[in-house]
């Protein structure tokens, strides 16, 4: 009998020996058959079943096949490594990782990559660049204004290549690419902060993705994994952290209307020509003055975000706030870029979660 060895670099020595000793392919097959063929799920199987490409999910033809699956005859197979999701009779597999695939209503952060005919192309980390139509942005001069030809000619004055913005996915095209809009006060061009990218699958979908954090810093956790950490806007009713049921945007909106005073950079509803002039501010390229301490806090949040991403911990605002707390114990901001520190922040976070029984 021929000796067959396929060694896996990371495999512990004992296992390699076991393989060697066995020396028989057919027999190994039975022994090492780890759930490969047993992957047929009946409806009783637990919710988070892991499947891998080519694995049989079910031979029940009554299921409808969704994303991440394919079928032959009556059998449905998985096309990606991920977890099975069932919605009514629709069976789909969500990959563990992958490019962001936009869904209507997602709050995302993106970067302008191209200015073209009446539209911008926006890199949102998906397969295709998203499209932001000129008619889907708040034009300077107030929300009520209609777009004019002059606007078409000066699109670069509004948003140009390299600009970052946060927006909502308005609709999807047939090929899965997204059309965005920023026709709300909480969306628009981004300034006064730093841009961080984490894998999109780590961002936990929530009602709100824009949060004011302790330390005078706000954060937008784009569903696409693009995040923006910036100095909290002034003249704004302070919003209590994550426990607040009222969304920041709503609060901001109230601030704008109730206080009577306008908030620069919020694109408030304005009709006077004076305010029209100042509403160009929402597309300004200039940062406000930011104090060193705020800058340091922003950096700390950034490093915390990266630490979470490094440890593959799903991110939401509470976890980030906790990570921030933990990070304070590690002293200087600069020390946080150390890989070991990142890992121990992650560990601390998981442990603290376990202790409290939540997270």
């Amino acid at each position: 009998m021929d000796v067959i060895t396929i060694t896996q670099p990371n495999q512990p020595q004992a296992e390699i020996n076991a393989t060697l000793d066995d020396g028989d392919v057919e027999m190994e097959d039975e022994e090492l058959d780890v759930d490969v063929n047993g992957g047929i799920v009946d409806s009783a199987k637990s919710k988070n079943d892991i499947v891998v490409p080519g694995e049989l999910i079910t031979d029940d033809p009554s299921w409808m096949r969704g994303h991440g699956t394919y079928f032959l005859n009556e059998k449905t197979y998985s096309a990606v490594a991920g977890t099975i999701i069932r919605v009514n009779k629709l069976l789909s597999v969500i990959p563990f990782k992958g490019r962001y695939s936009p869904e209507t209503g997602d709050h995302i952060v993106g970067r302008i990559v191209e200015v073209s005919n009446k539209r911008w192309k926006v890199d949102i980390g998906a397969e295709h660049d998203a499209i932001l139509m000129l008619g889907a942005v708040n034009l300077p001069g107030g929300v009520l204004r209609r777009k004019s030809e002059a606007d078409e000619l000066q699109m670069r004055a509004i948003l140009k290549e390299g600009d970052l913005l946060n927006a909502e996915v308005q609709s999807l095209f047939q090929d899965g690419s997204a059309s965005l809009h920023t026709r709300s006060l909480k969306y628009g061009k981004l300034r006064n902060g730093v841009f961080v990218v984490v894998p999109s699958n780590l961002i936990i979908r929530a009602k709100n993705h824009a949060h004011d954090m302790p330390g005078g810093v706000s954060i937008i956790l784009g569903v696409n994994g693009f995040c923006w950490i910036y100095k909290t806007k002034e003249n704004q009713v302070p919003v209590a952290g994550g426990s607040s049921t009222q969304s920041k945007a709503e609060a901001g909106f109230q601030a704008a209307t109730h206080n009577g005073g306008y908030t620069p950079g919020m694109g408030s509803v304005s009709i006077t020509s004076l305010e029209e002039q100042s509403s160009w501010d929402i597309y300004s390229d200039k940062n406000d003055t930011i104090s060193n301490s705020i800058k340091e806090t922003i950096s700390r949040y950034k490093n915390c975000l990266l630490a979470l991403s490094h440890c593959n911990i799903a991110i939401n605002e509470t976890r980030l706030a906790k990570a921030y707390d933990i990070s304070l114990g590690y002293g200087d901001v600069n020390s946080l870029v150390n890989e070991e520190v990142e890992e121990s922040i992650g560990e601390d976070l998981i442990n603290s979660g376990k202790m409290r029984g939540v997270v």
Partner: protein
């Protein structure tokens, strides 16, 4: 075993989906430290072969107007180049969440006298005749066969059947790893 690293990215393109595979073989990866010409036909051939291996296995129909770019960098070469590229690309594609019909696994099988050997190192490759076998999933169908040495025709059948078994075994190992990583990812997400 040599190590290769593959990354994949999807980007918009006006037409039909495109799969592009680029192989880097830096001088430090092999013993001779030979600088390779930029238009090395051997690497060009390798990348074409790999491209054809994956073209039918990736569900390209899901990626209209996109390009899937795969870059393989050979970090250390010690035999089984094509097979390892194949396996690492499979894992990289799975990691990138790209839809595949099944795993593509490949392994080299050599023959010494009457004995068939799996997975040769570069010294063995230099002296023995060997073939590279590639299989998709658990089937007995061949996706890839490459033989560049002289080999009696009547030996081929045995080498192929051993190769297929090797590929199936490799699939199991890769499967375990993918599941492990997946479980780990999931546990932290909770």
């Amino acid at each position: 075993m040599d190590t290769t690293y593959a990354s994949s990215a999807v980007k918009a393109l006006p037409d039909a989906p495109v799969l592009s595979i680029l192989i880097n073989h830096p001088p430090f990866a092999s013993m001779e430290r030979k600088k390779r010409p930029r238009n090395d036909r051997r690497l060009a051939e390798l990348s074409i072969i790999l491209k054809r291996c994956f073209e039918k296995t990736i569900m390209l129909q899901n990626y209209a107007r996109s390009v899937i770019e795969v870059t393989v960098t050979i970090l250390s070469f010690d035999g089984g180049l094509l097979a390892t590229c194949c396996n690492s690309i499979t894992l990289a594609l799975i990691d990138a969440g790209i839809s595949l019909y099944d795993y593509v696994t490949a392994v080299t099988v050599g023959i010494y006298d009457q004995t068939a050997l799996l997975d040769l190192n570069s010294l063995e490759e230099a002296d023995l005749s060997f073939i590279t076998i590639g299989v998709v999933g658990d089937s007995d169908k061949l996706n890839l066969i490459l033989c560049e040495d002289r080999l009696p025709l009547d030996r081929v059948e045995r080498l192929i059947s051993l190769g297929i078994e090797g590929c199936h075994r490799l699939k199991q190992l890769m499967n375990e790893t993918v599941r492990e990583v997946g479980t780990d990812l999931l546990s932290k997400k909770q």
